[in-house]
Amino acid sequence: MARTGPKNTALRVLVWLGVILAVLTAVLAGGTMAGQASWAPKLALDLEGGTQMILAPKVEGGSGINEEQLNQAVAIIRQRVDGSGVAEAEISTQSGRNVVVSLPGTPAKETRALIQASADMNFRPVLQAGPGAAVPTESLTPEDQLPKPTAEPTNGSDINWVTPEVYKKFELLNCDNPSQDKQERSDPTKPLVTCEPASANSPAIKYILGPVEVKGSNIAGSSFQLQRGAQGAVTNEWAVNIQFNDEGTTKFKAVTERLYQFNVASQAQGGSDPKAQFAIVLDDQVISAPRANATITDGRPQITGGFTEQSAKALSDQLRFGALPISFEIQSEQQISATLGGEQLRMGMLAGLIGLLLVVVYSLFQYRALGLVTVASLVVAGALTYLAIAILGWTENYRLSLAGVAGLIVAIGQTADSFIVYFERIRDELREGRGLVSAVQNGWKRAKRTVLASKAVNLLAALVLYFVAVGNVRGFAFTLGLTAIADLIVVFMFTHPTLQLLSGTKFFGEGHRFSGLDPKRLGAIPLYRGAGRIRTPDDKPAVALRAKNTGAAAEAERRMTIAERRLAERQEQLAGSSKNASKEGN
């Protein structure tokens, strides 16, 4: 018996597997103690309960979405969702085409409207501004005193844009308590009545704005920085820089030329004309309305005044999104109650456990004690998979979905498959008459190749499903791929070394009848034919073969084992050569 070689290797491999498991466990334990990870895998919304929306972004003009645009789309939605105060929202891209928004619980109507709303940024000149509250009914401007346009408006700041309807709307608008109903997108060629919502350092303001003069898509970039003083020293004031493209530069120059005049004129009178302001409008809401303090000719305006680092960054980001008029279409929306999710998880786990039990019973039934190796291997594979999922949940925010659970359950069978392929090979080798130690070695050599090839097919399928799939396919594909890898590790690092060690034991090595590797039961014909009990009386081909002259009919041919074949071959050669000889003799 080969005592040293395989046995030592086997032990070494097993130790390595132990090290891997220990390291993974330690990593997870460390993460858990640091309060960042948790022992339980993170659950996706369909198990935890919540809302999942799949949105298809659409860029105006019908062009396709590239990856950068999609990432911006995600940033837009993330900002909107975060802004609406929803904690723990998950926003991600899917298959490079969709944006998936997952929110715990049922989102408020406002949040939902906010998410679907299109990002639409424009620059409009301000015509009139006022405090955010609605004008009380008693002090509304009487019908006959409403502003009456006297002529067609000539430019964006022309007061003739303000019709009685627009003015009435302006008076009635309440920006302190805005309704979040999703409205139709405003007409860029018409005046707009809207709010600048209250922020940390300013109350809500309402505006009448002129038509769109510069489009958000004319923004080439934006940044934020600490403002420099006259001497070039950095001050404590934050500033936001915009950079327009050529078209934007020309248009913005024309606008600031006009607005700056209003500014100069009003300052001369010691007042401040709102018409000197231009409003940056995102999704029909004013996000900032700076005053034109100069004519900007180079297309690089800087906005200053009362910014904190955060607010400067926020505005800068919003301006960047403005360069991209993305709108979203809800492809599918699912609201799953926590009760249903929990129930599905329970049922899924129950089904998985029963499935596992059935596989265990079947393995024990088919492979006797060898089935225990299957069970142990499944346990190790399960541990590896579990640790991987928990760690990925911590580091990559991987969440286990119902489809993922299904993948895990399906994987039980696929994992056990590799063992079956291996065990059947060992049995084949035993049938050839080898001893268990060499049967394990030889069977492994052959099974290894098959297992690798077939796992490659599994992995390929998982990868394709993962990268091309839509909807909940990903979770399934992910667990399927993960378990395929875990399976490979287990077969190579656990099942095979374990069998190498077991083949040295008396129970397995001598083929106990419950070992699942009983040569007698496997109909093995030892190469060494010492013992008389080897042949069963009905094993005719062997008898026939030994009686040289009977020859082998085609029927009997098929019944030969390799051992017999070799013998037959030798006989054949002898017979053949003698025949040839006789032929030559004739």
């Binding site: 119902l402 299904a406 399934f476 098929r558 071959e569």
Partner: protein
């Protein structure tokens, strides 16, 4: 039974018991052709598959733990909000109701949700709603087909590289296609809903089908490796022996693959009703059975058939026949003196 099954395995291995998969290929191919044709014609005759809401577009509510399973309550709850609609209300499993309607607005969805909560006497937490836009299904279908094409392409290359013969690759793919068509046919016949989950199951079946074929073909390759130097069996007979020798493996593999899937299908889904788990497991259950059969009855015989015309193999077959004839003649002459 274990003993007899092990015996069964031994007999298959030694060739004592042998099922003729390769020689009767015409029958298998005919059966497969008929089944595939039926699988194509059946959905056409029935006017397509029973598509899930993901493909049709619309809104769906699931109410769990209902006090009563009267569908009229659900219909009323929907009609109270959208008067002209024709909701489809069904008791899907145990105490779960499913209500499907046409596309609803956000507001209608919330109001119907409230209505259903009251009607079935459940809490807010037990009503789940799904809205699927009209373009979603097309998107899913497109991606599924794309995935299918990429997978088949890559698998073909992978197998051609591994087996180093395109004939094996082709045979395996044909086996897979047969599995695919018949699984789809069973779906059409059973009138189960085709949902994205069913499609995932379907794609997984393709992977299983190839996986299974790879294992059997590996044995075929092993058995036929030194065929040229031997006159014991013809190529077809070697293929048949390989299939027989891996039959126990095929059955065992199929069993362990199908047991967990069956557990989901009959235990999880039976108690829980329609959903990801059931749709996925049904496709897998059917597909694994057919995939295993397709390897044995279609892929392997097809491979033998594709290669039997090769000059080298024809020559080898002739040598086998010649030797057998000689052996038979020798056996007769050997017997003659004994009888005399």
């Amino acid at each position: 039974m274990a003993t007899s099954f092990a015996n069964f395995g031994n007999e298959l291995y030694t060739g004592k018991r042998s099922y003729d998969f390769v020689d009767s290929k015409k029958i298998w191919f005919l059966i497969a052709a008929v089944l595939v044709a039926l699988s194509i014609l059946l959905p056409v005759a029935k006017g397509g598959f029973n598509l899930g809401i993901e493909f049709r577009g619309g809104s769906e509510f699931t109410v769990s733990n209902v006090k009563t399973t009267d569908p009229a309550l659900g219909e009323k709850a929907v009609k109270d909000v959208v008067s002209g609609s024709v909701p489809r209300v069904a008791n899907v499993a145990g105490t779960t109701m499913r209500i499907q309607t046409d596309k609803l607005t956000d507001d209608e969805t919330l109001r119907i949700k409230d209505g259903l909560t009251t009607a079935y006497g459940v809490t807010d937490n037990e009503v789940t709603s799904t809205f699927v836009g009209p373009t979603w299904g097309a998107d899913v279908t497109k991606q599924a087909l794309l995935g299918l094409a990429i997978f088949v392409g890559l698998a073909a290359v992978l197998m051609a590289l591994y087996f180093r013969t395109w004939k094996m690759s082709l045979s395996a793919l044909v086996g897979m296609l047969v599995t695919m068509f018949i699984t789809a046919g069973v779906y059409a016949l059973s009138d189960f809903e085709v949902t994205p989950s069913a499609i995932i199951g379907f794609l997984t079946v393709l992977s299983y089908s190839l996986y299974d074929t790879v294992v059997v073909f590996d044995k075929i390759r092993e058995n036929t490796a030194d065929l040229q130097a031997s006159t014991r069996r013809t190529f077809g007979e070697e293929v048949n022996l390989a299939v027989n020798q891996t039959l126990v493996r095929s059955i065992n593999t199929m069993m362990v693959a199908i047991l967990p899937v069956g557990a989901i299908l009959f235990i999880g889904a039976g108690l829980l009703g329609a959903g990801t788990l059931r749709d996925l497991s049904l496709a897998l259950f059917v597909g694994i059975l057919i995939g295993t059969a397709a390897t044995i009855f279609i892929a392997a015989p097809l491979y033998a058939w594709l290669r039997q015309g090769e000059r080298e193999l024809v020559k080898q077959a002739a040598r086998v026949q010649q030797r057998r004839a000689q052996a038979a003649a020798k056996a007769e002459t050997a017997e003659a003196p004994a009888t005399a």
